[in-house]
């Protein structure tokens, strides 16, 4: 048992150290490929807010952005569905109202879909929203 542990530690030193070094070298690459978070993608304008309360990949997006958008949209729909049942309204009603607020809350540089179907970059002026938005 003891011998096994020692050999285990030796093994770790022999193989895990180079592995760790490799991981450290590879880490920055991994961040750029896997580290696309909801917040970073949003502020980079890779993903944008739609009037219907869901996210969408803006034209320059890739497969990773698509995966991220789908994952967040599923979570959003779950929350919309929950609140809609509580309030006795449709999921679409809740999603749309939230969409109005999400577009209103975008920070300069972030993307949103205008009622005319065009992606806009939020600037200092108020965003273009659906006429039914409060």
């Amino acid at each position: 048992m003891l011998i096994k542990n020692i050999s285990g530690a030796k093994l770790a030193r022999k193989f895990l150290l180079p592995l760790a070094v490799t991981a450290m070298i590879a880490a920055p690459v991994a961040v750029s490929a896997q580290g696309l978070t909801y917040k970073s993608a949003k502020s980079a304008g890779v993903i944008g807010e739609k009037p219907d309360g869901y996210l969408e990949v803006v034209s320059s997006g890739n497969a990773e952005a698509r995966k991220l958008v789908n994952s967040v949209n599923i979570k959003r729909k779950a929350k919309y569905t929950e609140l809609a049942a509580q309030k006795g309204v449709t999921v679409q009603d809740i999603a749309f109202t939230t969409g109005c607020n999400l577009i209103a809350q975008t920070s300069p540089g972030e993307k949103y879909l205008a009622p005319n179907g065009q992606w806009k970059t939020r600037d200092g002026s108020p965003p273009q929203r659906d006429a039914r938005c409060p």
Binding site: R76, K79, L83, I94, T97, T98, C100, N101, P134
Partner: protein, 74 residues
């Protein structure tokens, strides 16, 4: 005789008046029906929009809370 005839014509006249009043009331009630039917049209248009502005205004506070409580997805 003349007095009787006069009386009769007055009676006919009053009868005619009450008929007219009835007809007018009928007209009013009819036109009332028509004005009641008129609001149907805007309602149909609103249904086409799907989401009504009134609902959006009512849910606005709830939507704001939802965003605040779920910062990771909003």
């Amino acid at each position: 005789m003349i007095a009787w005839m006069k009386h009769k014509s007055q009676a006919q006249l009053s009868c005619g008046l009450s008929n007219m009043a009835l007809a007018m009331m009928a007209c009013i009630s009819l036109s009332g029906c028509i004005t009641l039917a008129a609001p149907d049209k805007p309602i149909v248009i609103e249904l086409n929009i799907n989401i009504q502005q009134e609902v959006v205004y009512r849910l606005d506070g709830d939507a704001k809370n939802l965003i605040e409580e779920n910062e990771d997805i909003f």
